[in-house]
Amino acid sequence: MALPFWGKVGQEKLFSSTVAVIGCGALGCNIADLLVRAGVGKIRIIDRDVVEYRNLHRQVLFNEEDARKQIPKAVAAEKHLKKINSDVTVEGIVDNATAGNIEKLCTGVNVLLDGLDNLESRYILNDAALKLRIPYIYGGAIATQGMTMNIIPGVTPCLRCVFPPFLPMYDLADNTSIGVIGMIPAIIGAIEATEAIKIIIGSAEINPNLTVIDLWPITIDNVRVEKDPECPACAGRYEFLNDR
């Protein structure tokens, strides 16, 4: 709040806002932790899975007791986040984000944050964000690499503009089979949280690029992305919502 570009007005805007974190794995934990500490007003966390021991090196909201009791991530996250900042309304929802429920999950939300672990759900979220005209911050992390991009409906390219979807890509790679170090989702999650705050407080410094980071060795690239004039989602054809 002491920062001039943030200020009391920005803090009030943040406290008046509602964000949704879709997926509460490594990305989602970091995003939620930072936004709750920053003083977002309300945070909705959606995840169906339970905490497992193998999650603990990177999913920073959870502990061994959560894993031993196999507590749903959304429940454990809600419990821990309320202890971090009791002023924040935390709503944990134990469910998958699907084509059937995504619009309901996005109701009343100012910014959608990507904590997902697969591409298919991201294309569903992308369609919902465009349809409901809610900013969506894409983020992904695997191995030592991650990327993030802001999707502002009607303004920026969407996920489909940049990465055409195809079915086999859905299992192209996952963190269970390939692995991921805890630091890369922490960094990508921190960027997602920062961009969400910028969007909420109306900053002019919103990242227009696809930011690509590798930690091993360290490389950081800002890739300029452009709209695809033939993108169905940007033209209002939400195939990932309607095809199911």
Partner: protein, 94 residues
């Protein structure tokens, strides 16, 4: 032929195990065909080792820039020495 640098990012880098290569090509389309033939093939072989199969051109599903400009928007598709082609696929994990 122009000598251009191809930089592999994200999943491409992970599967190929290399950051970049220098190839010779006079046009963007020639370069992309060479990348698919030489590196797309290796990418798919690595993928197949993980029990997955994909036969289509992987390059078509990648985001590609030449000197940071979206390849789909390029009017002049000729290449010159030291041009840089970046290739990315969406990072799926989280």
């Amino acid at each position: 032929m122009a000598k251009v640098t191809v930089r592999f990012n994200g999943i491409w880098r992970l599967y190929l195990g290399i950051d970049s290569v220098v190839i010779a090509a006079d046009t963007v389309d020639e370069a992309l065909a060479k990348i698919e033939q030489n590196y797309g093939k290796k990418f798919k072989e690595e993928w197949q080792k993980k029990g997955r199969k994909f036969t289509r051109n992987i390059i078509k599903y990648s985001y590609i820039t030449v000197n940071r400009k979206d390849v789909r928007r390029l009017e002049d598709r000729s290449l010159k020495d030291n041009d840089i082609i970046d290739i990315l696929l969406a990072v799926p994990g989280g």
